[in-house]
């Protein structure tokens, strides 16, 4: 072969191309649907959706009730629709209980409200340690919890995904939803961190 042929993709890339072309050819997926999904997850869906829900729950007691009662419905109210068959449950941190989310089997994650999971969420160390030693996992993320706070670990499944509602930081009493959203990090909604303190916001 001369060197003027097209750049040869890696074996993995070729496997992905083979799979896609077979699935399209057999009518199992539509190319337009694939493009739409990639566009959505790359650009439109992300942890800002979840942060919006959390900030609303902090400022609107009725919305908070609805979110805790049925998070899928509350998210849909805001235009964040889950994929078919997925239910979203919001779990609220309190001074007594801190919630942490993991998927011990694969990497089930509330895509609709958090976008795509970080690499560590899909790793074996996180999957096992979140369950066996959640307190030290939290410490590594910089969230030191007082001894008396109980940690509740939620194991996601294909049917049930979790969104942690962190505690509202002190000193934000007169903040707007837009301002509050910036304190709600993706990690806080997985439960490996607390919401940012106001002074930690970048100016």
């Amino acid at each position: 072969m001369s060197s003027d042929h097209s750049h040869l993709p890696s074996e993995t890339e070729l496997r992905a191309k083979a799979l896609e072309s077979l699935l399209v050819e057999k009518g199992l997926v539509k190319p337009e649907a694939l493009d739409a999904i990639i566009e959505t997850y790359q650009d439109k869906v992300g942890p800002r959706n979840g942060a919006h829900l959390v900030a609303l729950a902090w400022t609107d007691a009725e919305f908070r009730q609805r979110l805790l009662a049925d998070a899928s419905a509350a998210a849909a109210e805001m235009g964040y629709f889950g994929r078919q068959g997925e239910h979203l449950k919001a779990v609220e941190n309190t001074p007594e209980i801190h919630n942490l989310v993991v998927c011990t089997l694969c990497s089930c994650y509330p895509w609709t409200v958090l976008g795509l999971p970080p690499v560590w969420y899909k790793s074996a160390p996180y999957r096992s340690r979140a369950v066996s030693e959640p307190r030290s996992v939290l410490a590594e993320f910089g969230a030191e919890l007082p001894e008396e706070v109980r940690i509740r670990v939620w194991d996601s499944t294909s049917e049930m995904r979790y969104l942690v509602v962190p505690m509202r930081p002190a000193g934000t009493e007169d903040w707007s939803v837009e301002q509050l959203q910036r304190l709600v990090t993706r990690n806080a909604m997985i439960g490996v961190e607390q919401a940012l303190a106001p002074e930690r916001l970048a100016p």
Binding site: E13, L19, Y41, Q84, L105
Partner: protein, 114 residues
């Protein structure tokens, strides 16, 4: 997040694009599209992927999250042949066809299967 003072935990990663390579997005989209079209149930996918991750670890994959989409790819290939949508050989042949297509297509021209 960039704000976490995590040290040596292995849980840190830079905030970056959702996908590290186009093929990762391609595989992710295939999984979603099959689920949206009702061809693959979320429970079925979770079981398949969980099994694939378990097998990969047995084979020595440290499974640090960076091979996640490779596991997805392998699980999809298995699903395709288990459901008799495409035999193992057909998938292998298609990979070979794409390789050949790249090798015969001059640089700068669209690569197409024959």
């Amino acid at each position: 997040m960039a704000n976490s003072p995590v040290s040596g935990s292995g849980f840190r990663e830079p905030e970056g694009p959702a996908f590290r390579a186009p093929w990762e997005a391609q595989v992710f989209a295939l999984v979603c599209a099959l689920q949206d079209a009702g061809k693959l149930s979320p429970a079925e996918w979770s079981a398949l992927l969980g099994e694939e991750i378990r097998l990969a670890k047995e084979r020595g994959d440290p499974d640090l999250g960076d091979t996640y989409y490779v596991h997805c790819l392998a699980a999809l290939e298995k699903w395709l042949s288990e459901k008799n949508f495409a035999a193992h050989d057909e998938i292998g042949q298609r990979i070979a066809d794409w390789r050949a297509a790249y090798l015969r297509t001059p640089h700068g021209r669209p690569v197409e299967l024959r």
